[in-house]
Symmetry: C2
Subunit: 155 residues, 2 copies
């Protein structure tokens, strides 16, 4: 990776606490702009991303720190269509990874059958976590990749 500089118009004086008191959980997918999806701007929200927008132990860790140390109150989970984990054969994937690595991974790939159901389950996982202090404002959306205006509420 070459060393590159920040764009000259990069805002420099944003506060540490997210202006919209929100933490977004979404997928690592290269096509997703999480802030644009919600009409937000740099500085408005924490952004947590992993493969599949899953609520894992590490997601809960990040949300707990977001709320406890940096005063966020709302959680927004955004899944998306055309995700590589939707419909993936979990057993075959684990087998292939273990064969190549020479050892079984301590995690599951995290495949799911329906992105809508997955987002609903993720919202429920946050709402029922004892480690998240503020659970009144947890919502779920699906972003339809490649469709204009494509975030729709599902939970």
């Amino acid at each position: 990776m070459p060393f590159t500089r920040w764009a000259k118009d990069e805002p420099q004086e944003l506060p540490r606490v997210p202006a919209r008191r929100t933490a977004i959980v979404t997928c690592m997918d290269a096509r997703i702009d999480p802030l644009a999806a919600l009409g937000m701007h740099l500085g408005d929200a924490h952004v947590i991303r992993n493969a599949g927008a899953l609520v894992t132990d590490d997601t809960i860790r990040s949300l707990a720190i977001s709320q406890r140390m940096l005063d966020t109150r709302a959680v927004v989970i955004i899944g998306h269509t055309d995700c590589g984990l939707e419909g993936l054969d979990e057993g075959a994937a684990v087998e292939a990874i273990a064969a190549e690595a020479g050892t079984v991974p301590p995690w599951r790939p995290g495949s799911f059958a329906s992105v809508e159901d997955q987002v609903r389950a993720s919202v429920e996982a946050v709402r029922s976590s004892p480690f998240i202090p503020h659970r009144d404002d947890v919502t779920g959306f699906v972003h339809d990749v490649g469709v204009a205006g494509g975030v729709r509420p599902v939970a």
Copy 2:
């Protein structure tokens, strides 16, 4: 959260495979624009984010899927100054969380003493993971929050 629409200028036809074949790992911090930090654009890279830009099991899961299913080859880890986890008293934090939740979390908050050392350790964690097929191009940067031109290579 109100339902909002994508900006009209949102690119709609990006490919699923990241154009720059890169996965970025960085912090959830609201002030970080990971793509701008590296002079990249939407569609160029997977973006994985958690509290502290840590390489956890979930980070390895995401990177494994990124490389195995979506053909990325390079990993870039970006820590940043003024992170809430730098210098945090880990024991006190766990105690406070456990007291409020009524149970001890299955994760550690993930505090660190030096962001430079933390990024170097994260780069090493990726380079030594048997679950990551491509480990030749793993680099680490620190973003100096609030300073123009603020990403510098540390690993």
